[in-house]
């Protein structure tokens, strides 16, 4: 894990901020096992977030007991943010988005980052790959 259990205070959340296809997104640090630079078992490159342009980093998570890696262009930082800077999607968006891979939003400086549900994003991508095959 990127942060140990004692490294994030109760009123804070740990996030990993990354760039994918020219847009910045965030993911809960607790769902990222590690960040890797070398492709080993095949990176997942196609999701609803688009495709990476350079795929210089991989975010590794565990799904159904197995490691999976999302290819991203860059990891921009690992941050602690106030817990109240993370919000769920507005109800209309939650009910109408055709993806389960977005968990909410992070208000950071002057921008809103998509908070990605990494395991769900990868699960969804794999399901679509299976149905396309």
């Amino acid at each position: 894990m990127i942060f140990g259990p004692r490294e994030v205070r109760a009123n804070e959340r740990g996030i990993v901020v990354f760039d994918l296809g020219g847009r910045r997104h965030a993911v809960e640090a607790g769902t990222v096992e590690r960040i890797v630079t070398r492709e080993e078992d095949g990176w997942i490159r196609s999701t609803v977030l688009g495709r990476p342009e350079h795929a210089r980093r991989g975010l590794v998570t565990t799904l159904d007991g197995r490691p999976r890696t999302l290819a991203v262009d860059e990891v921009l930082g690992v941050e602690r943010v106030p817990a109240d800077s993370i919000a769920p999607l507005p109800e209309v968006a939650r009910l109408t988005l055709r993806t389960r891979g977005i968990a909410g939003l992070v208000a950071r400086d002057d921008e809103l980052l998509l908070l990605v549900d990494l395991p769900e994003l990868i699960r969804e991508s794999e399901e679509e790959s299976t149905s396309d095959a």
Binding site: V92, E111, L114
Partner: protein
């Protein structure tokens, strides 16, 4: 509400109509080259939209979300819902924040005109020949500037939600 007061009023004092039983207050905007309205009590305020965050895998009518004083609001494109046509939303463009039942969101239109008040007798049932989707039309208001199509906003939002879910 202060921002709404900045908009051009079409009648001498439409704000009085908000609390008047013998007047109906409507919030007017321009869409698809026509004038539309919703009931004014549904409109919280008119603001300049902040930076929009677009959402992946969103239906075409959901333009994105933005942060308004710590509250994250979804932005709906009415032209998409009515006629599957796009409305461009430049940064700083005005949006109307509306509340309909549990739904609070921002609406984008070609132009937001402001308030108009009409007597209840000026409201007529929708014509059968109306070219748009009549499921969204609540009534037609006869005003000095011509007929005004009054949208059934709760119905519009409900259909948007259902469309997005079933797509």
């Amino acid at each position: 509400m202060r921002a709404m007061r900045e908009l051009r009023h079409e009648t001498s004092d439409p704000w009085e109509a908000l609390g008047s039983p013998d007047q109906v207050a409507l919030f007017v905007f321009r869409l698809l080259g026509e004038r539309y309205a919703v009931h004014a009590h549904l409109v919280h305020e008119v603001i300049r939209a902040g930076a929009l965050t677009r959402l992946p895998a969103a239906p075409a009518f959901l333009l994105g979300v933005f942060n308004h004083r710590g509250e994250i609001l979804a932005v709906l494109d009415l032209a998409q819902l009515l006629a599957e046509e796009n409305t461009s939303l430049a940064q700083g463009a005005r949006v109307a924040i509306v509340q309909s039942g549990p739904w609070k969101l921002a609406l984008v239109a070609e132009a937001l005109e402001g308030l108009v008040s009409v007597p209840p007798t000026a409201l007529e049932p929708p014509p059968t020949s109306w070219p748009g989707p009549s499921e969204f039309l609540e009534c037609v208001a006869q005003t000095k500037d011509g007929p005004l199509s009054v949208l059934d906003l709760p119905r519009l939002i409900e259909v948007a939600r259902a469309r997005g879910t079933s797509a």
